[in-house]
């Protein structure tokens, strides 16, 4: 049964692996070319497992020690995981001991697969999502390791390599745009984020999330109405 789930999950992680190879290698490379030992990106990939934050952390580690500031910055940068958790509340129910790992490994890419893909009928959904999460983390840690080793041995200027992360998110945006039934949620996200970046610059994430949630209230009220009409 587990083998079925593994076989079903594997192909979905291939595009993620491709993205991770580029992103992870550039991340590992950037870390070691800035003087960190190989172990840094590898352990960060294993225990943080949040690409964008790992890039930010690279800068933090070279700045002055500020644990409180680091904590709040991380919550801000990773605040979108709150949204992912809310979205996966139902789907992660009943997964037993796997649930802790499923939640720990809930990165952007795993979220995009687990929230939208229906595994085949004979495949256990909990194991499917587990293997998606696990495979993605393996690709990530592996790529960071490869990048870290390359960075140690190849003295190259790594400026601009972080753009691969932007590329990844742009592609995710396009994918979800193409498959979405309606574009209002994506547009609400875009509008609120842009407005908050203009107003708050670096600290825009939490205001943006608050504004996004507030903007969904009218839609929610309409949706609630239509449910009552059906009942």
């Amino acid at each position: 049964m587990k083998t079925n789930a593994f076989k079903a999950a594997f192909p979905y992680t291939i595009p993620i692996a491709a993205g991770f190879f580029v992103l992870g290698i550039s991340y590992g490379f950037m870390m070691t070319s800035r003087g960190f030992s190989c172990l840094f990106p590898i352990f960060m990939a294993m225990f943080i497992f949040a690409g964008s934050m790992e890039f930010v952390a690279a800068n933090l580690l070279l700045a002055s020690f500020d644990p409180a500031g680091t904590f709040f910055l991380t919550v801000m940068v990773n605040a979108r995981h709150l949204f992912y958790g809310l979205s996966m509340l139902e789907k992660y129910k009943g997964t037993g001991w796997k649930k802790s790992y499923l939640i720990f490994a809930l990165c952007d890419e795993t979220f995009s697969i687990n929230c939208s893909v229906e595994p085949p009928a004979d495949v256990d959904r909990g194991w499917f999502m587990f293997f998606v999460s696990l495979l993605n983390q393996c690709w990530w840690v592996g790529s960071a390791a490869v990048g870290a080793l390359l960075g140690q041995w190849i003295p190259l200027d790594a400026t601009g390599v972080e753009f691969s992360m932007t590329a990844l998110f742009v592609v995710m945006f396009l994918d979800q745009w193409e498959t979405a039934r309606e574009h209002r949620p994506a547009l609400i996200g875009l509008g609120c984020s842009v407005a908050c970046v203009l107003a708050f610059q670096a600290n825009f994430i939490i205001p943006a999330m608050v504004l996004i949630i507030a903007s969904f209230v009218p839609g929610y009220l309409k949706w609630k109405e239509s449910r009552h009409d059906v009942q």
């Binding site: 680091t70 709150l82 809310l86 939640i103 998110f169 875009l190 996004i212 929610y220």
Partner: protein, 88 residues
Amino acid sequence: MTFNEQLITIVVVAAATMLTRFLPFILFPEGRRPPLFIQYLSGVLPAASISLLVVYCLKDVHFEESGMASIVAIVLIVVVHKWKKTCY
């Protein structure tokens, strides 16, 4: 930063990250139905989150210097993505 301070920084980042991932599951445990609004949000937040992420990546772009390069790169990404899809 000393090595120990770096270790502490990484632990803080990891802990804060786990907080953002586990908090919804702590606030709304299995067995208790989350409020209707939360259920609605689970449907619409994914799309909004990705928009947020794209804006987050682009906010640091200094449009005066490398801005043009970023814009060209993004246009290329969109073009290649559309083209790759229609080639299947």
